[in-house]
Symmetry: C2
Subunit: 441 residues, 2 copies
């Protein structure tokens, strides 16, 4: 049996956020709306400073929903890259290195430095000397995951018996020095460093560009918001042969999510002090491989999918009354909460027991569940659904007196807005099937 | 049909590593053996410095197998903590804070500091002043995940409508200042910060101790190596009411893996500048909650499971010849590689095709697979199996001419050492069932 709730229609005018179309609503309002929703619905933690971090595409303090979204995104990246070819191996390298750029970020023991600076018996010269020595001894902090992968090249060659191509994948925290604003940034990066023969590096760059763009679009509500473009010759990084960037077109302009470089062999040779013979691989002739690097910013990726999936809806309930509502239509595999469990009218104690049984069942099946029935403030089902739409919850399950009598419950879908009646014994399998079908698309 | 390979028996004497029994073999040898195996089998990257990091229970550079083991361990921790009770929410906070201990680690832009130190026109006094100012402006780096969770207490209260108890879970990188050795350490930590009413905090400490100890033992080959013990009154951290540590008894002595503190409300009040009213929760009476913290070191956990699962076996092949072999009997859910695919004698091209088909099938079923058939050096099946046992691979599948004729292949189990014949169409489901059964134990 199917029943229909009041239908929501996508507004035709200016209110769709995230498609990149020109809009009449000022960009500032759209940013505010996105931020407000993210804070209210526990995607990011409140606070001016934190929302600024988020907006700039840096790591920020995430609430439970944002944390789960980021986690899902990282998992998807990992599986898509490491399972796409058997020659991709995961690694986990250190953040702090002994060596590093002379002028980069360093992890300094401030107590020790303070002590040096406060020694009255040191002359000016001695003081400078001691402080510099301490600074140089302090470990340098990584800006990207590239260096770690280049260093792991030699031990990893054994895994493939020196046969090209192969790749090293890693995700992890990286630090960017502060820009003028005094705001130094931490970013969770993804990195695939792909080692291939020099003559194929350009083809591999194209291969991975297609792979990555397809991946971003797979999870998008509006795939056209994601695009790739070749880095112009004059903007190439030193030693890079070619470069491609993947952009998301935010309402306030495009920002780069992932960057692919065909880097030649310079940095690989540098990382191994020019030891040509140690680096040679089998590949028809003996050659030092070229490096194609693919590195992404997960925090900005989270922002892109939040922006892309936010829909403003105008409710057309037939009574000439227009209501504005918002829904976060995140892809089913990314959505942090798959199902919310709530109770309608009826004997609260018994209804709660049914909910608790279902909650246990869902958790065991690894279905992320929101136990809405535990909220003690009485709310109408319509208000609940509006909240869950903003949270991006895929399904709302309502247990009512009817469930106690007939075993039937109501399931409402975020995407179709349709309410369906289902037997309590079927719901877990229905949800599991829905999620795994979305995963295998 | 079952056939039996030469049987391995657990040596009765001194050679079992990881049970914590007194042994005749010197500890140094056991450490060397563990290190050698971890490096040879791509658990950790080679290098004196890196193995030292590993031995001390710090983060180190992991190879593909170590990376996967660490990832599996983190996943298991996450699911066990966040799914054990619905009131546990995941968060993701920043590594760098604005404020911090005056004498902790800080992320200093060494270029800027160098510039200050090199300004000839500055007097000694000005130079000290400028350097201190720069130091204080530099973000401080976290030593643990506690502070982040305490700061998230207020926005998280809304999730539970101010109802106790609830908890915030997080995993992430933390940094320890260098000890005398000049070796500053990064460690991946797990953290559960549990907020509860003051009168129940001691019970909750006991609850979580049982929960955590059970978890460590669940994955152990020798569960008795893991133990918990109350921190003596005189060793309690400032402001802590009680403490419990979970230890693993390495062959070289016990090391602490996870620490639980009943911390009272002092630090929570400090994190919110004593704003009592903001922190009060519903719990019969209005009260500021007490904090129970549960924080673990994942890198040391990886080392504990590697040590715990390493078995030295003496082969009794009936010919009075004793051979020593090693096997890494990691728990099925932790083992980084579930199955290795190899070919026996026969037409190589056709056999490889079968392997490629199976590899694809396994990857789609999310079964981590080692494509041994791609190794070009000819090795005997016995040598292969010895290698896979050291890698901790659960099953070795061998495709031979017989497979092409009858569809039958051989599956050898790491744990039973039994070789079984199975039809090619059954193998994927067999593996999937085995792994998920182990997961649900």
């Amino acid at each position: 049996m199917l029943t229909r709730s009041g239908r929501f229609v996508l507004s035709r005018c200016s209110s769709t956020v995230g498609t990149g179309h020109t809009t009449t609503a000022p960009t500032e309002d759209q940013i505010q709306m996105l931020l407000q929703l993210c804070v209210d619905r526990h995607y990011i933690s409140p606070g001016q400073r934190n929302t600024q971090h988020f907006l700039r595409g840096f790591g920020c303090s995430y609430g439970p929903l944002g944390m789960e979204l980021k986690r899902n995104l990282l998992d998807q990246w990992w599986h898509s890259v490491t399972r796409s070819r058997w020659q991709v191996f995961g690694i986990n390298t250190l953040n702090c290195g002994e060596e590093g750029a002379a002028h980069g970020l360093r992890m300094v023991d401030s107590g020790l430095l303070q002590k040096v600076l406060e020694q009255p018996e040191l002359s000016r010269e001695q003081l400078v000397h001691e402080a510099c020595r301490l600074l140089q001894k302090s470990p340098s902090v990584r800006k990207s995951l590239l260096q770690g992968a280049l260093e792991q090249f030699v031990p990893s060659m054994e895994l493939v018996k020196r046969k090209l191509p192969f790749g090293l994948a890693e995700t992890g925290l990286c630090f960017q020095p502060s820009d003028g604003s005094g705001c130094s940034a931490e970013v969770t990066q993804t990195s695939l460093v792909w080692f291939c023969s020099p003559r194929t590096s350009s083809q591999w760059l194209d291969h991975w560009t297609r792979h990555r763009l397809k991946w971003w679009r797979k999870f998008a509500l509006n795939p056209s918001g994601f695009s790739s473009s070749e880095v112009p010759q004059e903007e190439l990084e030193e030693s890079a042969l070619r470069g491609v960037k993947i952009f998301y077109n935010f309402p306030w302009g495009p920002e780069s999510l992932e960057t692919l470089w065909s880097r030649g062999d310079t940095e690989l040779l540098d990382a191994h002090r020019g030891a040509h013979s140690k680096l040679q691989c089998r590949d028809g002739r003996k050659s030092v491989p070229h490096v194609v690097s693919v590195s992404g910013n997960v925090d900005r990726g989270v922002k892109a999918f939040l922006s892309n999936s936010l829909q403003q809806l105008k409710r057309d309930d037939g009574k000439q009354k227009l209501q504005q509502r918002k829904a976060l239509k995140l892809h089913p595999v990314l959505a942090p909460v798959k199902v919310a469990l709530d109770i309608g009218r009826g004997a609260t104690v018994e209804l709660r027991q049914v909910c608790e049984g279902l909650l246990q069942e869902f958790l065991e099946a690894k279905i992320s569940t929101w136990p809405g029935y535990l909220e003690t403030l009485p709310t109408s089902v319509e208000q609940l659904i509006a909240k869950y739409d903003e949270m991006g919850v895929l399904f709302t399950v309502v247990i009512s007196e009817n469930t106690l009598e007939s075993g039937l419950l109501q399931v409402r879908s975020r995407d179709t807005t349709i309410k369906e009646t289902m037997h309590v014994s079927e719901i877990k399998n229905f949800l599991s099937r829905y999620i795994s079908a979305a995963d295998n698309l």
